[in-house]
């Protein structure tokens, strides 16, 4: 008699639970409610995204140099293309565009090594970026020395101005924020009180009132006759505002350092500043890089507010282009372009900060 000694091989899973069908059943049609939801969602996509896609790509006009080129009923990207230089550089003299390009090219060249794992002497490079680079950039943008023609700050604009405001905001706010954070955790009651009041004040008011204050009240605060550049006034407001937020981020890092680190540094006989500079801050700042990137994203979006006090950042430049009598009625294209630019910057930064968070998290897992 023939007896099966071996068990039968497993039957393959039913065709409905693997492959495309299986995936669909599991993720889209797992229950009656889910099926209804899926169809509702498909309908929503059909009535919103499909026309939007047709408007933005299929029916859009891309080439041309006047509004007559836009006759196919879709988006008129010619409007953006014609004014692209202005959106990027503002009212900067066209012959001097190379200075802006050089400054940002240099910045990218200096920043790339920081993202490489094994680049030597990163500390020196960071110091160079934070201290020397701003000086170079200032002379490139503003001119007035080394044979470069002087360009008034009122002619700065477009994406360039947005990046300058955000860059200055973050670089200047970091040291102030560190000092404030240390002050808030100090054992000296008066230092602590001053820091808390400063931080809570700036965090409690909207940026728009800060900008109003710096543009209206700053001239009142200083001796008669002190001339103050409009851009500089806005920058001071932004830096004050930003440093308070930065202080809270850094404080979070300081609190995350175990007490043993402080005690060990004291046991070694290190002074307060050596404890902070050599032991605590290097660890704390590394922990809060994602937080710093997040505040930078918020700052980057907030720079659009300078529109209200009359500076021409990217959004304001685009907004002002709407009133060109030759190009009336293309506001949607302009806003969509601005939104796309901001979105690309903010989204990539937030992805970077999330990746960093994951990376740092594994390093500190116990």
């Amino acid at each position: 008699m023939d007896v099966h000694k071996q068990p039968h091989p497993d039957l393959p899973p039913p065709a409905t639970s693997v492959g495309v069908v299986g995936w669909l059943r599991k993720n889209l049609f797992s229950s009656p409610l889910n099926t209804v939801l899926t169809f509702v969602a498909l309908y929503l996509i059909y009535i919103t995204l499909v026309p939007a896609f047709q408007w933005a790509f299929i029916n859009a006009d891309w080439v041309g140099d006047s509004r007559e080129a836009c006759d196919s009923g879709g988006a008129c990207w010619v409007f953006v293309a014609v004014r692209f230089d202005q959106f990027m550089y503002g009212f900067y003299p066209e012959a001097e565009y190379w200075r802006i390009n050089l400054a940002f090219g240099l910045l990218i060249a200096l920043m790339v090594p920081l993202f490489m794992e094994k680049f030597p002497r990163k500390g020196m490079l960071i110091a160079f970026n934070l201290i020397v680079y701003p000086v170079i950039a200032y002379y490139l943008f503003s001119g007035g020395a080394f044979g470069l023609a002087h360009v008034e700050t009122s002619r700065w604009g477009g994406l360039t101005l947005t990046l300058i405001l955000a860059g200055v905001g973050i670089v200047a706010a970091l040291p102030i924020g560190i000092v404030l954070a240390l002050g808030r955790r100090s054992s000296m009651p008066i230092v602590r009180a001053v820091s808390v009041v400063f931080i809570e004040f700036w965090r409690g008011v909207p940026l728009i009132t800060v900008l109003f204050m710096s543009s209206v009240m700053l001239p009142l605060f200083l001796p008669e006759g002190t001339h103050f550049d409009k851009l500089l006034r806005a920058m001071i407001g932004i830096v004050m505002f930003q440093s308070a937020y930065m202080a809270e981020v850094v404080r979070g890092g300081l609190q995350a350092i175990p007490k043993g680190q402080y005690e060990a540094a004291q046991a070694l006989g290190l002074s307060y500043w050596k404890t902070m500079g050599l032991i605590i801050l290097p660890q704390a700042l590394k922990l809060v890089i994602p937080g710093i990137v997040n505040t930078f994203i918020a700052l980057f979006k907030d720079t659009t507010l300078v529109l209200i006090i009359g500076l021409f950042d990217l959004l304001a430049t685009i907004q002002s282009a709407f009133s060109d009598p030759n190009w009336l009625g293309f506001s949607i294209e302009g806003y969509v372009f601005a939104a796309a630019v901001f979105w690309v910057f903010c989204f990539s930064m937030s992805r970077y900060s999330q990746a960093l968070e994951r990376k740092l998290h594994t390093g500190h897992a116990r």
């Binding site: 996509i45 008066i190 809570e200 728009i208 009240m217 009142l220 901001f342």
Partner: protein
């Protein structure tokens, strides 16, 4: 500072400037002097500048006649009222847009946050795309987009988009019917109050009974029945003392009904969609923060899906969600000041804008405006600290 037990000599004293107490005292005194000096410098400069420009100081201007109109006001207002009144109008408008924005943003945020965790792939994707898109576009851009690109190009009142002869949308705003309360409606309000009070007592009684006897009570259903049933009963008994005032086209514009002006509408849309995306992330992180073991433990105890969610998951998720939620509410309130970009008459627009330009009293006006926002944010953060203390995990 005891003497050395071996040699009997007093321990060597550190030099004065090396002692921590001395150092910190000196440093703090210097800090106070520095702060006072800076304040004094700014103060004298300001006084001098104001004198030179012939601007009088003080809050006397608040009782002067304002002389300008405001497009939307919750209280009686026209050009003959004072600047003090404009402050109040602006404050109320700020509170209105913040309150409505908070309600809308919370609804959007909770729906989207839960949707992002949905098992339905398509729904989760839509929620993700919504969150990642609107979170990363500046709020001001969104406000301007709704106002200039969506609401301004709407048709004129004669060609309004309409819904059932009751709701009209055109470039002057969104017109909707409003209820008119007639005589006897006060009793309905009274009934609502009575209903709420009795529900509170009912809930307490039900809770106590469950603690003592273990018998649960359908508090929610009974409460809902009382809340809606009692006022409805009174309403019908009083002979339906309420009617609707519908908007109607008269000449070039609508009369009657209520209107949401386009400025308010664009601000509300932008604020609630933008803040909603942040709230959605808060909700998602709160739900994810409750470990799956909690769900399994609840199931093991025999709880069904509903009670598991209500009694186990939500209370723990709320501990994570609420602090983030309040900080988003605070952001929304502060962001409502962007109203000035589209001309919605909020506090910053009418007070720090128009009033400041008319009176020139920059210091007082800005100080009052900042004071309002500071008061709001400090009171919310005080509440937060209290709440955090109350809800903190008590560890063994």
């Amino acid at each position: 500072m005891a003497a050395d037990p071996v040699t009997g000599a007093a321990p060597a004293k550190a030099a004065l400037w090396r002692r921590p107490v001395f150092r910190s005292t000196v440093f703090q005194v210097l800090l106070i002097l520095g702060v006072v000096a800076v304040a004094n410098y700014l103060f004298t400069n300001t006084l001098q500048n104001l004198e030179q420009r012939g601007i009088s100081t003080g809050f006397g201007f608040l009782s002067n006649e304002a002389g300008f109109g405001i497009v939307q006001s919750l209280i009686d207002y026209d050009e003959t009222y004072t600047f003090g009144r404009t402050f109040l109008v602006g404050l109320l408008n700020t509170l209105l847009v913040s309150g409505l924005g908070i309600i809308l943003a919370t609804m959007i945020g909770f729906v989207m946050g839960v949707a992002r965790l949905s098992k339905n792939w398509l729904i989760a994707r839509i929620a993700t795309v919504y969150i990642e898109t609107f979170r990363n576009i500046p709020l001001l851009l969104q406000i301007l987009f709704w106002y200039f690109a969506v609401l301004q190009p709407l048709p004129r009142p004669k060609q309004s988009l309409e819904l059932g002869e009751m709701f009209f949308l055109n470039n002057r705003g969104f017109y909707h019917p409003v209820p008119v309360f007639e005589q006897g409606f006060n009793l309905v309000f009274a009934a609502i109050v009575v209903a709420v009070i009795s529900i509170v007592f009912l809930a307490r009684w039900a809770h106590r009974r469950q603690e003592e006897t273990g018998q649960p009570f359908h508090t929610v259903y009974v409460s809902l029945a009382i809340l809606f049933g009692l006022p409805l009963l009174v309403f019908l008994v009083m002979g339906s003392p309420m009617s609707w005032d519908y908007p109607a086209l008269k000449g070039f514009n609508f009369t009657g009904g209520g209107v949401v002006i386009p400025e308010l509408m664009s601000l509300l849309l932008a604020l609630s969609i933008y803040t909603g995306s942040f709230i959605a992330e808060a909700v998602r992180s709160g739900i994810l923060a409750v470990s799956h073991g909690q769900t399994e433990a609840a199931h093991a105890l025999g709880l069904r899906a509903g009670p598991t969610l209500r009694l186990v998951i939500i209370p723990q998720a709320m501990r994570v969600i609420i602090p983030q939620l309040t900080s988003q509410y605070l952001n929304l309130t502060k962001n409502s000041s962007l109203a000035t970009a589209v001309g919605y008459p909020d506090l910053v627009a009418v007070f720090a804008g128009t009033t400041l330009n008319q009176t020139g009293q920059a210091v007082e006006v800005i100080a009052m405006t900042m004071g309002v926002y500071l008061t709001i944010s400090l009171s919310i953060s005080t509440f937060m600290n209290w709440y955090n203390k109350k809800k903190q995990l008590v560890e063994r």
